[in-house]
């Protein structure tokens, strides 16, 4: 097993680097500075990090106002509270008003495993994907996290960054270049496509290795930008591989898999399997336990791909 990384570190280091060059960058926190790995940012830029207290609605409203005043606010908070508690502020003050706010949902999905359903953030992609004028990026490893933070800064407009705390291996080569809206093919294949984002990308790669051992060549695409999603990459996958398995650390309702299915169903319908959390509140357990519990594992992805291929009658 390769070394595992906490993407929050890459997020924080990159934000500090950008803040050194661009005085417009500020950070906002809901009393979760260390949870968002912003302790060093706070030390280096004491006048540019605002702990606005346990008040997410106000925090996002403030961010909108700061953007109006010429700042580039990065709002870093636990994804469950940032998106759920402040959803109307995200819709109206950020997306609809069109302010240049970067929302950073930290520790999303099942990251807070044993803390339970209040702290799991398995609806955030669905909620934000339904909002117009919102860009959603779910990076898979530290390098992609760093580049996503830079891309979000260069992009003028609302962005939601989903920053994982769960250890992930490096999946991208050092020369990888992330681009908003572009999927990247991590493994070529023509038998089936495994499409994933975030923490499920390395698991999809492992699943492809299991499939290869059985003589199946699976394409693996990393779709870090969930919105706007890379339509061409999805259509190509449908046409060239005849079936798509999606995997995400999120409910299967309205998330990444749904986004892929919307394209597939309306362009080139092929069988799909959508892996995620199947419309339930997750039970108690570590993140790793919950990934196993819901089959969000290399074996689970492998099994879904194999079942899809069999259903196709090949």
């Amino acid at each position: 097993m390769s070394e595992l990384h906490d993407c929050r570190k890459a997020f924080a280091n990159t934000l500090e680097d950008l803040a050194r060059r661009d005085p417009r960058i500020v950070a906002l926190s809901n009393d979760s500075i260390s949870s968002a790995s912003l302790s060093h940012f706070a030390e280096e830029f004491p006048g540019r990090l605002f702990n606005v207290g346990i008040a997410e609605q106000n925090m996002v409203g403030i961010a909108s106002g700061m953007a109006n005043g010429g700042k580039i606010p990065f709002v870093a908070a636990a994804a469950c509270f940032l998106t759920g508690r402040a959803l109307e502020q995200i819709k109206n003050d950020v997306a609809y008003t069109g302010t240049n706010v970067k929302l950073c949902g930290v520790s999303p999905g099942l990251a807070y495993g044993p803390l339970g359903g209040t702290h799991h953030s398995i609806e955030d992609i669905a909620w934000l994907r339904a909002i117009a004028n919102m860009t959603i990026i779910v990076p898979a490893d530290p390098l992609e996290t760093e580049q996503a933070v830079r891309a979000a800064t260069d992009f003028v407009g609302p962005v939601y960054l989903r920053i994982s705390r769960m250890g992930v291996p490096v999946v991208h080569a050092a020369d990888y270049r992330f681009e908003i809206g572009k999927a990247v093919c991590l493994r070529e294949g023509t038998d089936v496509t495994l499409a994933a984002c975030g923490t499920l990308v390395p698991r999809a790669l492992e699943a492809a290795a299991l499939l290869e051992a059985e003589g199946i060549q699976a394409r693996v695409i990393n779709m870090a930008t969930v919105k706007p999603i890379d339509r061409e990459a999805i259509v190509a996958a449908a046409v060239e591989t005849g079936g798509i398995v999606t995997a995400e650390e999120h409910t299967i309702y309205g998330g990444f898999g749904s986004a892929v299915a919307e394209i597939v169903a309306t362009t080139h319908p092929v069988p799909m399997r959508i892996l995620g959390i199947p419309g339930v509140f997750a039970p108690t357990g570590s993140s790793e336990f919950l990934f196993e519990h819901f089959g969000l594992t290399p074996q689970g992805i492998h099994d879904a791909a194999l079942e899809l291929i069999k259903s196709r009658g090949l």
């Binding site: 500020v26 006048g47 540019r48 605002f50 606005v52 207290g53 008040a55 609605q57 106000n58 996002v60 409203g61 403030i62 961010a63 909108s64 106002g65 700061m66 953007a67 109006n68 005043g69 010429g70 700042k71 606010p73 109307e88 502020q89 109206n92 003050d93 609809y96 008003t97 069109g98």
Partner: protein
């Protein structure tokens, strides 16, 4: 320059007339709350309280004004048109298909800072602009107008605490205290009193004024900050429907649209008030 209060009064009553015509033509709008805020908006935009330039509405050093009571869009649009932000003729498109004069403010209209209408959003955003100005040591100020019923939204109190914590004396909240919300008097639904004491307890410097007295409005709004290091709260006691006797203080007029006959009666009364 001495302030000509009679001229300001006349302008506010012309705005009321144009506003009522607009609501009647659109078949929609918020009649009562538009009329209660009209004198405050006239003072802000037509008598130099706000440092804004209709020719350059996004100038970085402009004063910011958030119409947090976004249902008062009709009044805001009318006032912005009178102030020269866009041609008055455009008011005829209010709430018509594809018009940028949406039923609640949006930033496609010159002079509008944010898409308000969901209540309890203006004050947090205003805290954000005030913080940005403080960071830059900039002189521009932030004003925000909320309704009174709107203060039942908890986000306002999150923002109230933050504004005091960050000592935002460059922020002025004006509360249109017309004492009515949509269904009934605020105090019969979820009471707000003692309102001034609440804001003082939250660390704000509070002034209470008659929101229809131009001399009081101007004297107060040009005296900010009231205290160094404290955000400013102006509780403007107003009447919902001010200026039209059969609308004034009637809960049923929150978003009722005047009939042609009612409009003519109202216009006659409003014209009579212009000297």
């Amino acid at each position: 320059m001495p302030i000509n209060f009679q001229a300001l009064h006349n302008k506010a009553y012309e705005i009321r007339q144009r506003n009522l015509i607009m609501i009647h033509e659109a078949g929609g709008g918020h009649t009562g709350g538009d009329l209660s805020s009209a004198d405050i908006l006239a003072a802000l935009y037509l008598n130099g309280v706000l440092n804004v330039d209709p020719k350059n509405p996004r100038a970085p050093d402009r004063d910011r004004f958030f119409m947090s009571k976004g249902h008062g869009s009709g009044l805001l649009y009318t006032t912005l048109a009178f102030a020269g932000f866009f041609p008055e003729e455009e008011l005829a498109t209010f709430m018509k298909p594809l018009s940028r004069l949406n039923g609640h403010p949006n930033v496609h209209v010159p002079g509008v800072e944010a898409n308000t209408g969901a209540l309890g959003h203006g004050l947090p955003m205003a805290v954000g602009t005030a913080m940005a100005a403080k960071m830059d040591g900039a002189a521009w100020r932030t004003f925000v107008l909320t309704g009174d019923g709107e203060l039942q939204e908890g986000s306002n109190w999150e923002a109230a605490m933050a504004a005091a914590q960050y000592q935002l004396d460059n922020l002025t909240l004006i509360i249109d205290r017309n004492r009515f919300q949509m269904v009934d008097r605020t105090e019969r639904i979820i009471g707000l009193e003692p309102l001034a004491d609440k804001w003082r307890a939250f660390g704000w410097s509070v002034q209470e004024i008659n929101g229809h007295d131009y001399e009081e409005i101007m004297r107060t709004l040009t005296a900010v900050p009231f205290e160094v290091g404290k955000p400013n709260c102006v509780i403007a006691y107003t009447h919902k429907g001010e200026g039209v006797s059969f609308i004034k203080d009637r809960a049923g007029w929150h978003h009722r649209v005047p009939t042609e006959e009612e409009l003519n009666t109202a216009l006659e009364e409003l014209r009579g008030a212009v000297q």
